[in-house]
Symmetry: C2
Amino acid sequence: MKRIVILGGGFGGVYTALHLEKLLKKHKDSIEIILVNRENYFTYQPMLAEVVGGSIDILDSVTCLRSLLKHTSIYIRDVTEINIDKQTVSLSPNFSHKELTIKYDHLVLGLGTVTDFRTSPGGLAEHALPFKDLSDAVSLRNRIIDVIETAAQETDPVERRALLTFVVGGGGFSGVEVVAEINDLARKKVKAYKSIDPKEIRVILVHSKDRLVDKELSPSLGDYCGKLLQKRGIEVMFGSRLTSATPNEAIIDEKMRVKSKTVVSTVPSIANPLIEALDLEKEYGKVKCDSYLNALGKKNIWAIGDCAFIPVSPKKAGEYSPPTAQFATRQAPILAHNIKTSLLTGNKKTFTFKSLGQMAALGHKRAVAEILGIKLSGILAWFVWRFIYLMKIPGVSAKFRIALSWFLDMLIPTETVQLKSKPKKGFDNLHYADGDAIFHAGDTGDFLYIITKGKVDVIKNGEKITSLHEGEYFGEMALLSEKKRTATIKASGPCKILAIKKDDFNVLMTHFEDLKKNFERTEESRKKGSNRKAEGE
Amino acid sequence: MKRIVILGGGFGGVYTALHLEKLLKKHKDSIEIILVNRENYFTYQPMLAEVVGGSIDILDSVTCLRSLLKHTSIYIRDVTEINIDKQTVSLSPNFSHKELTIKYDHLVLGLGTVTDFRTSPGGLAEHALPFKDLSDAVSLRNRIIDVIETAAQETDPVERRALLTFVVGGGGFSGVEVVAEINDLARKKVKAYKSIDPKEIRVILVHSKDRLVDKELSPSLGDYCGKLLQKRGIEVMFGSRLTSATPNEAIIDEKMRVKSKTVVSTVPSIANPLIEALDLEKEYGKVKCDSYLNALGKKNIWAIGDCAFIPVSPKKAGEYSPPTAQFATRQAPILAHNIKTSLLTGNKKTFTFKSLGQMAALGHKRAVAEILGIKLSGILAWFVWRFIYLMKIPGVSAKFRIALSWFLDMLIPTETVQLKSKPKKGFDNLHYADGDAIFHAGDTGDFLYIITKGKVDVIKNGEKITSLHEGEYFGEMALLSEKKRTATIKASGPCKILAIKKDDFNVLMTHFEDLKKNFERTEESRKKGSNRKAEGE
């Protein structure tokens, strides 16, 4: 019995499994196919932005792996380790404390990329919303609904402004698609609120170049994108970068601060850390492959899609496949065929493919497309976009569900239900910029804070009374005695802070006697300090 | 300007607001209506079980409050305090640290009930899944999908059995409806798994009486329910109670242990703790009202629905409204009218209503109903159930969406997509029964444990080497040195344990020097102890 293990259920992994199932149909008693993925579904990326806007239902952009792949064993687990020497893959425990280790004869790496926040000076990892998978799309939609619901009752004009401002970093495909959907949703939703003037809504797209989708589309379509988004009320900031974020603002080019509670980052991605740890030849963190999609020098390890560095053709040295679904789905049949020949007989094939074109949806009935050299924009491109992506989504029932959702979206208004998850417990990592208030005197004491980097000023009655530094904590007074905050705390320079929820803090206090004493001592000494201060010492 | 504040967006609160909007249309410049709810949607309870089974979509059972109530201000917040003396209500902070306090002229209490775990000897609060709201229904559906996906690859027969066993406590309406949907979903889903024999699925309903839905329906219909569920493969345990649960089992009648990863409790509810704290006359924790729905002795406080104790008629002393949607929706117009007369002019009305009947759905095309004294069962009752509830759901677009989902459910198979939330951080409260293993030697060390009640035995090579007691912790060795567990830990008698995730524990260790030293000392002394043991001392 031979075993092929595919890691990752994106376009690369799923299409490889689909082709393997077909090619190895007669050999299913002697060759086993396993696919490992974190989720039990395949996400159809091109439709994710529509989930944010609500023109399709939450689950329309995904299909169960098990209904797509009838003859593949699906493991819904995280990959924790890949061991090339032992030819094993370890998977995270589920409902038990036991890891699962499986042996492979052939391994397919289709692990994709993760968002890269390493080049950011800080704050994006903590406060920018990512936009990569279904849960990101659902979270973003919920955030938009939440800020608008909250703004409807907010009387502080600064706070209102922050609640109703949306900032997206990156004007590539996904940035352009998501900003268009955010804009459509926010502007449609506020119509139901008498207390919000639609002019209060501000949507900003920050892009480092002077033209949108400059990498992917021709200049004229890039210009069209920019003009259309501006016409729809989006402010496009060219030649700028979203460099940082705090809980209350987006920071652009390291100096310009825009108050906002919804900052989305579509910044570049890097290959999965699991790939990084492997002893394989790599380029830009991706697995270097030959035209057979074989990892260099390893006959039973293959790579596909965004985590692989694959020549577009054996004849074109130095030109490599871009990280798009189009290329991954074209690599899959070659990869499947080559694994088959390795296990059975036959000649290997080489991968060679030329992009057919690109498309991006721009929200309400507009898109841009460049197909086989023909440029399209506006409502025609939008029809083409919908038609092509509907045809390409795998599975008949998925096609049907999406077509139906699109049809219904024209007939009945979408409900903006906010699906809240249960309150998060534990710790939050926060990032603040110089001068930001962590809290104000009089606020409810709901968190304890520990400074993990930088320093903060303690302000009482408008006067700075002391500074606190790395390793010191604050906010424990209101927690211990359940009062309101007695001082304002402001960041002095950029700083990173760990916040612990009141309830969890109380649990800690109950179980760690040392900790409790420690906090009580600190409170006592701080009280004395502020009394002396009050008495004029 | 007068202000009516309604707390709670269930049947009572929402229907009161709907009637007030109509009655006070001409006065909307002088009378403001506010409704406070935790979620931005109204949940149509009778449809929740169908969300579990998947015959309607996740969002079909809910409608946005804002689209139902056009002239009411909706506040999506938690109520933190009700102050009768000051006539104010305080609401939890959202996107800020500021609580919001609003004054009222009239207050409507429609806060419903919360699940009551006080009478359980332990474990149900920690490990039984509740079934009250949309997020419970979504969680339950995800759990069923998750255990089946995991069982498909599990080789340990005991673990498989636990994964494929489902236990529901309580054979009233909601217990019967939810067990039927769990059974349908589990049995339908395993058909896609070659590695699972459908006979491995076990679904158990535990009910304290000797007949199902004995409180709500006549004996013949109760018998029909029991027989139908048994025919569908559900084991019904009459005269028993679900008394406790651990992470791996359901405990019935305090002694019988059934291995299961999915325990659902539909046990009795108690009135909201916010009601408990109020200085009002109460009965069984509910606000005692006169027939005008006025809280006794308080002219501007009203109560409705499950948190209110309301006579069914002014003529029938000693007979009170049952906690059903039917009664709440009938109380609403009376309450709205009486508030109107209090603010303007007119005579108050008294509440008087006789139940029209009851219905319960029993999964796939079966139901029971008793309407105006007529008993129905089987497919006819199921049609009546669907028709009546479809007619009664508020909003045209909700009716349309549900009817469409039902129609599609017959045409295309439902996708069993498991919507995972991001991994939970922080602390988990666990309950174990005598002899349960918290972990085994060789397991992955993913949690640190603190004993908050009871004691545990430490077992190495089959031999008990020591016991640990309340306040002591264990599991830190594998965390500090990232090794596998070196010992097995078993509960000695029932015990309660606090589990802290490895990542969070590491965060704690980094920031609390004292704590780290403390743990290191413990580890050192334990190592010495076990070395001595190994050397035969």
